[in-house]
Amino acid sequence: MSIAAAKIEAVPQPGLPPMVTIDDVTMAFGSFVAVENVNLTVGNGEFLSIVGPTGCGKSTILNAIAGLLKPAKGQVSIDGAQVKSVQNNIGYLFQQDALLPWKTAFQNVELGLMFRGVPVEERRVKVMAWLEKVGLKGFEGRFPHQLSGGQRKRVQMAQALITEPKVILMDEPFSALDIHTRHLMQNELLRLWQEDRRAVVMITHDLEEAIALGDRVVVLAAGPRSRVIESFGVDLERPRNVSEIKLDPKFMTLYRDIWASLRGEVEKSYASR
């Protein structure tokens, strides 16, 4: 049974050229195997949500795509090029605060362009445009500690997206926010993404978030030796409103189906503690 399940190949919606390919990847730390034989393809412009119980090695998959960790086996490629070192053509939205505390909102958003050698004036125009886009006009001179949690997330979004990355990786990006701020930020994210669809891989343990945002939801098994066990297409219309979509009957059916698959894994992960 488990061998058959390990062979599940999660493919994107038809018609989308592949952007991220995860090919038979195993991530291990010494003798501890976090994820094993994972095959995943993310189409260009596709929003992929990965759900799984806590501690199933979800984040290691993202870090493999980002090039922060090397797979023990298999390979990852972005737009046909194999990932060998830290990638600069991606945007990564971390769960924790990843802003430089000694730089203002403006300077933080500016970083990616500065490292790429973009001229000062062009940088200024773009940064101001992005800060306005994420609703932080007038906050450019604030330091991270002078911003609220939601505002810091906005700065992080602008920082990650200003370089126009091919892939956007998100590691439980909104889990530290309160529920209202979270819904607000999720809608905001969808609005930004809708403008300019890119491949997104989002990791979350919140199934509602996974369905409300994603085009496809992939379920990972309980760790260690976690793997993809099922993949569900989400055929909900866009643009979506995160706080209202939960009342859609299609949403509820999907939720029930995916939860049926996820539930067993969550129980397993608690039983093994």
């Binding site: 990843a98 430089l100 505390p101 730089k103 330091f143 991270p144 609220s148």
Partner: protein, 258 residues
């Protein structure tokens, strides 16, 4: 009201101590040779302060302090960031650093006088050895405690090694160094004064040493008071500098919740 009361009590206390002291000296209860009268000390301080030649001494002690602080901090930051980034070298050098840090710095003064003469630089060297280790340990700690998530994020945004040094490691170290600013400047002053005290031809430490050599207790006490004021003024300047330099850090109670 409370604040006014506190001030009032403080002033009364000071008046009682100084008045009692002065009274004791004039009535002969306290030996003038060991504890000169406060009025005499004040007179000596005033004589020095209105004498233009006195400021040469202040200037020399100040330049020794500043040079010692700047050189010591520069070397400390460079070494701290370097060893913070290469744990292997840090492990190799660890016992040597500990051994050198264990030497009481005062005993080095004669060697510095031997090497660098009685002038300014032997005092600067002594101040440097004191300041270096404070900044060194703080800079190393600062580099080691850089948040790994912040580091990953900056690398993904395209930072090269030199960018990381400039935008992540040095600022991280700098915040630790600024927090040790007071201590290290204090050490620089101590280094300069001790150096002068042990052998010099000018400076505040020299003034005290000379007075002591003449059994001039008034001069010694006056020197001590001037030194105290000297350090207080530096402290005030640092207060201003600190506020200017760390604008990015939250003041107590200013941190915003999520």
């Amino acid at each position: 009201m409370q604040a006014v009361n506190v001030r009032l009590i403080q002033i009364t206390l000071l008046a009682v101590i100084l008045g009692g002291w002065q009274l004791g000296v004039t009535t002969g209860v306290i030996d003038r040779f060991f504890f000169p009268a406060p009025l005499d000390i004040v007179q000596q301080v005033v004589t020095w302060v209105i004498d233009p030649g006195f400021y040469k001494h202040v200037g020399i002690t100040l330049s020794e302090t500043v040079l010692g602080y700047l050189i010591g901090t520069g070397l400390g930051v460079a070494a701290g960031v370097w060893l913070g980034l290469s744990p292997f070298t840090a492990r190799i050098l660890d016992p040597f650093i500990k051994a050198i840090n264990a030497i009481p710095r005062v005993v080095l003064a004669p060697i510095f006088v031997l090497w660098l003469g009685l002038g300014l630089w032997s005092k600067v060297a002594l101040a440097v050895t004191l300041v270096f280790f404070v900044t060194f340990f703080n800079a190393m700690q600062g580099v080691r405690e850089v948040n790994p998530v912040v580091l990953s994020n900056t690398r993904i945004l395209g930072a090269r090694r030199s960018d990381l040094l400039r935008h992540v490691y040095f600022p991280a170290a700098a915040s630790w160094i600024l927090s040790s600013l007071r201590t290290s400047v204090g050490f620089a002053v101590v280094g300069a004064i001790i150096g002068e005290y042990l052998g010099a031809s000018a400076g505040l430490g020299y003034l005290i040493a000379r007075a002591e050599g003449n059994f001039d207790a008034v001069g010694v006490f006056a020197g001590i008071i001037i030194l105290a004021v000297f350090v207080l003024i530096i402290d005030l300047l640092l207060d201003v500098a600190e506020k200017r330099l760390i604008t990015w850090r939250p003041k107590a109670g200013e941190e915003r919740p999520a």
